[in-house]
Point group: C2
Chain length 323, copies 2
């Protein structure tokens, strides 16, 4: 049996999976992304997480055929280099991820865009099975997107899928990317945290930051948002509703333009919040959609937290076996 | 020589072309779309315009092999029926256009969505020649869109391309379609006329309606808008700038999502206003685009007023020759 490792390298966590020949998941291990120390600290944490994964599965490193890494930001897929990942602390310069991780394990490594890997996984093994045309909207620290058209990943001239940076409010909120009115400025966890901090500092009561400290976090994770919503924290409910509305507006607009079979809503925030989030997204999309019967085609990711890492394993397996 | 007739059936005008085997244009004739009398009056005007076209080209009806009609609104292409065209007066019920016009001339007739026909024409014979992936944004009474992906018209599950009804301002202006914040509510001539009337009635000076009357029109045509802009009418300049900004925002967002090679800006308004409009569109798209070098890929339609009718002739020729 040859095993594939999949890594989803996020701004807050490192999710790793060991994947068998039949695409089943053999083991999982999650690590935390270091917020100091830059790329070398992050890649050391990747190494450690994969080592723990192999221990957990009771497998030697020699059983691993390929490693696939899904990463955010701008990526040179062919060269295996993350050019820039603004949401990951200290990754403002190019990092040759494939080479470094390849040397660590003596195994071929392929790099993929994290959300592109995610939509490939949903298409092949998740909620998008049997659908030819899919749009994925993944709400994490930022908002990423991926497109499958005619059963293939759609890249355009190379950079397609960026629904997080489509404008939903002309002259709207400032986005982390420096533009105005992007979906990400309303639905990315980074933007939501910034808005929560501002309102909290201005005197608005919220338990968000207490929960964060109780959970030993330095950021408002998806879990913190969920817990605050479950306890009916007003500010949390308001900002999450804003995020869902923004995602629904963008999903509706993109459906009017592309008329895909299915829009997959995923990422940490959507996965944690689940159906309550989905229902708000659908309710916001409904008045935008030209065809009134298609809001039900907006669905939650089926693979949840496994999505990115599984997709990275699949993409790497495909690409490296073609060599 | 077998000739094809192409008809662009718009809310304000009926543009007809006679097209030769080599896709060159043999003759043109333009008629006015009746605003009273409903479908029968409009189709009688189509008949008359085609008859004048044939007289102008000195050709008998028997020289015509096919007629293609591009129409706005919801269309059942296979059945040749316009289901609904809200921008054409009285077309709120299904009209079997192919059958009626076919009986008039004893020639096979094919119906196409007007903007889909337009982007096919630009792809095959216009500014999109040699580009595999194109988005067309056509500003007329409404704002239509068409997509070419991998050299084929992209229909999704059947209704793709509706960039006019993508949201550029969440909770924004009311659109003629009943939704809020659509591109069409900012850049369609119908919305622009409504805004101009409201401001004029509220006391704001403008020469728009004088020009309209001088030109014997009951609506603010693209020519009226152009003339008012040329005379530096403040309200006209302001509303046209709003329209161009809206188109640029939508063009930028769609490029971030699809990363097409080229965005073609067409339709009566863009064709009349030309480079001044294009430059405003590009300026508005620039701050939205993730790739800063691609604003120049937003270009004006090369076929202008011929675009829709030429595309209808091409699409009909293709489809009817396959029978």
């Amino acid at each position: 049996m040859s095993l594939r490792v999949g890594v989803d390298l996020g701004a807050t966590k490192i999710q790793t999976l060991l994947v068998a020949d039949d695409d089943s998941i053999v083991a999982r291990k999650r690590g935390t992304t270091p917020v100091t120390g830059g790329p070398s600290a992050v890649l050391a944490a990747v190494k450690e997480t994969i080592e723990h994964l192999l221990v957990r599965a009771d497998q030697p490193a020699s059983a691993v055929a390929t490693i696939g890494i899904g990463a955010p930001g701008q990526i040179d897929v062919a060269a295996g280099i993350v050019l820039q990942a603004v949401n990951v602390a200290g990754w403002d310069q190019p990092v040759p991820v494939s080479e470094i991780v390849g040397d660590m394990f003596g195994v071929p490594v392929a790099l993929a865009n994290d959300v592109q890997a995610s939509i490939v996984a949903e298409h092949r093994l998740g909620v998008g099975r049997g659908r030819a045309n899919l749009l994925g909207i993944f709400c994490g620290t930022g908002v990423g997107g991926g497109l499958i058209l005619n059963n293939d990943l759609w890249l355009g001239t190379g950079a397609a899928g960026e629904i997080g940076h489509t404008v939903i409010v002309q002259d709207g909120h400032r986005c982390g990317c420096g533009r105005n009115g992007c979906l990400e400025a309303y639905a990315g966890r980074g933007a939501l945290e910034q808005a929560a901090r501002q309102q909290h500092q201005a005197g608005r009561p919220t338990m968000l930051f207490e929960l964060m400290e109780q959970q030993g976090r330095s950021r408002l994770t998806s879990r913190v948002w969920l817990d605050a919503c479950l306890q009916r924290d007003e500010l949390a409910l308001e900002l999450i509703a804003q995020a869902a509305r923004a995602v629904g507006t963008a999903a509706g607009s993109a459906t009017n333009l592309l008329d895909v079979d299915c829009v997959v809503i995923g990422g940490g925030l959507a996965t944690r919040l689940g159906d309550r989030f989905l229902n708000d997204v659908r309710a916001a999309a409904q008045p935008v959609l030209l065809r009134s019967d298609v809001a039900s085609q907006i669905v939650l990711s089926e693979l949840g937290d496994d999505c990115g890492a599984l997709g990275a394993a699949l993409v790497a397996g495909d690409r490296l076996s073609q060599r």
